[in-house]
């Protein structure tokens, strides 16, 4: 399956941004972040091991704060570890 992508750019006030961040937080708590564009959905399932990077820059005429959360599919679940345990004596 190819990569699915979602992009969104806008101008907002701090209160609205707070709402967006809260939605992301709620999604991470539930292990399910849903992003949709005109009925098309991308559903992300953040793994247990997440790479979290924060980059900030103060410019003469403003500023920038980048936060990124990235992960790879959990390899442990794919392994069916239970079956392996059962071969132990």
């Amino acid at each position: 399956m190819g990569d699915e992508k979602f992009t969104f750019e806008s101008l907002q006030d701090p209160k609205t941004i707070r709402d967006y961040l809260q939605s992301v937080i709620d999604g991470i708590d539930k292990g399910r972040v849903i992003l949709s564009t005109e009925g098309q959905e991308i559903v992300l399932h953040p793994a247990n091991l997440l790479k979290f990077s924060v980059k900030a820059k103060k410019k003469s005429d403003g500023g920038k704060l980048n936060m990124s959360i990235a992960w790879k599919e959990s390899k442990r679940e794919a392994l069916k570890v239970g079956e392996i345990i059962s071969i132990s004596s």
Partner: protein
């Protein structure tokens, strides 16, 4: 560090300087080509060829003439010769590069690609050669080796862009010319790797595993695994260096009978003596597990020992090349053997957990290879982010209250490549027993788990095999802990794994892969700290961290 040979140091310094100038001029030429500069670059190349010949002549005639040269002096000369050959090659590449410029329709075309960054990186490495050589600075030499990887990465980025632009069908000739130039810069990286290796050879007196590297490559291709060269990092093989010169002993023209081969080990008396004692301990614990000692000799600071060559494949070879069934078999034998060793050597007396002490002892070597693998204290709003030093200090404190309920006799360096599997006889052997001793069984378990993780082969099939092996060992160790009422098992394993992840990075030159291990190490330490003031019995290891 350098042995004085008439004028060699001076010639060498000039050669490095002239090659750097050649690079600098080429960079200038690519930005603004001129006939005068072209002529200068081409004529300087002749001068560089001459310098190289002078240095080579001096190297060979000195080795030929002087009968009393020490081994170290000979190594220095050999290293100088290898470096000068590679420097001259770099200068040749510069000429090749400037010759390409004539094929551009628009000489400014190259400006859209990131070639300057590549040249700057090469220049930085050239500037490290002389100081690393004079001071015997290993980290400088390692940085030069790493250039090959960096330049490959930069090359790939430019290559992908060129390919994308080629698909548009426009500027085809100019794009091909740009590709040639960038490709030459990438090849300079290969020469720099040779220079770096030659510096390491001069400093530590050993050729690093290029033969083993090639052997691994051959094994991989024979078994039909098409792992590209770039995915196998020579440094991981270097990682198995034990600090002893090890060579097979056999008559030159005679084929070695595997059953009768032997290995000659020579090195520091304390290290060799300790290995001898450990081999003897293992012989009484589990006869046939370690090698037999055929002879042992001490001579002042040095000792030598002739030990049995144990035939079979190391476990990493098995994992990379054997069938699933063979791997299953090998694991069965490893598991049965470990269970037997743990059962017969178990002493139920509490022993302090010692992972943080081991981590601290190796931190300098980690930082020498990866200076960025420590972080300063930070804060995001009200949330404070501990520095690595603070994390280590806090973990050390907490660890002092953590004890293993029992000890067993450990291998001490239980890497995949220190376990030999003999398929025909259905048994395993332990090799490289210098660090064996009594301790927490998790010492060996954690080293084994991370040694699977850090195999630098990234094809999905191999990763799956490695993950399987990790899952097997983790399940087996968990079961053993449960059966023996070891309630703090997960907390101790957390610290032991953090140590292994963090310290293994010193053998890994692929920065992204090393960083992955470093981040996992720090993640585990932070997890451990967050459990403060709660009983260690309730700690849960985040097991996902074991798999990739």
């Amino acid at each position: 560090m350098m042995q004085p040979i008439e004028g060699l140091g001076e010639n060498f310094r000039f050669l490095v300087l002239e090659v750097s100038n050649q690079l600098q001029s080429s960079r200038e030429f690519l930005g603004a080509p001129s006939h005068a500069l072209y002529d200068k670059i081409v004529s300087r190349d002749d001068y560089i060829d001459n310098l190289k010949n002078i240095i080579e002549n001096k190297c060979f005639s000195t080795i030929h003439r002087e009968k009393d040269l020490s081994k170290q002096a000979i190594n220095q000369i050999r290293s100088a010769q290898i470096i000068c050959v590679n420097l001259e090659r770099i200068a040749d590449f510069c000429v090749n590069i400037v010759r390409q410029v004539g094929y551009f329709h628009d000489p400014a075309f190259l400006g859209r690609f990131e070639y300057k960054e590549m040249i700057d990186h090469i220049l930085e490495c050239l500037a490290l050669i002389q100081p690393s050589r004079e001071k015997g600075d290993l980290s400088g030499a390692l940085t030069i080796c790493r250039a090959e990887f960096e330049l490959d990465r930069m090359y790939k980025k430019n290559f992908d862009r060129i390919m994308a632009e080629l698909r548009t069908g426009l500027h085809v000739e100019d794009l091909i010319t740009a590709l040639f130039i960038i490709r030459y810069l990438e090849r300079i990286g290969d020469s720099l790797l040779n220079v770096g290796e030659a510096l390491i050879f001069a400093i530590i007196g050993e050729k690093i595993k290029i033969e083993q590297f090639q052997a691994l490559q051959q094994t991989l291709s024979k078994s039909g695994i098409n792992a590209p060269l770039s995915e196998i990092d020579f440094q991981s093989i270097w990682g198995s260096r034990s600090g002893c010169r090890i060579s097979r002993v056999s008559a030159k023209d005679q084929r070695v009978d595997p059953a009768q081969g032997s290995i000659f080990k020579e090195g520091n008396v304390h290290k060799i003596r300790r290995e001898k004692e450990n081999i003897e301990s293992w012989a009484s614990i589990y006869p046939g597990l370690g090698p037999k000692i055929f002879s042992y000799h001490e001579d002042g600071e040095n000792a030598s020992m002739l030990v049995e060559f144990l035939s079979g494949c190391t476990l990493d070879e098995v994992l990379l090349t054997a069938s699933e069934e063979t791997i299953e078999n090998a694991w069965f034998v490893v598991r049965e053997t470990l269970a037997e060793i743990w059962k017969t050597t178990l002493v139920a007396a509490p022993a302090p957990s010692a992972s943080m002490r081991q981590l601290s002892a190796r931190l300098d070597s980690v930082l020498q290879v990866h200076p960025g693998f420590k972080r300063a204290h930070r804060g995001i709003g009200e949330t404070s982010i501990l520095s690595t030093e603070e994390i280590l200090a806090a973990c050390r404190d907490l660890e002092s209250g953590l004890f293993a309920p029992a000890t067993v006799f450990n291998h001490g360096d239980f890497n995949l490549n220190n376990i030999v599997y003999n398929h025909a006889k259905q048994r395993i052997h332990f090799i490289d027993l210098y660090r064996s001793g009594r301790g927490d069984f998790l010492q060996d378990v954690s080293v084994f788990l991370v040694s699977n993780f850090r195999v630098p082969v990234f094809s999905p099939e191999i990763r799956e095999r490695l993950n399987q092996m990790i899952a097997r060992m983790h399940a087996f160790a968990s079961q053993w802990a449960a059966e023996h009422g070891d309630a703090t098992f997960q907390a101790r394993l957390c610290l032991a794994l953090a140590r292994s992840f963090y310290t293994s990075t010193r053998f890994e030159m692929n920065h992204d892969f090393a960083e992955e291990m470093y981040l996992r190490g720090v993640y585990l330490l932070e997890k451990f700290l967050r459990h403060k003031d709660q009983p260690w019995e309730s700690f849960e290891l985040p097991v996902d961290v074991l798999y990739s």
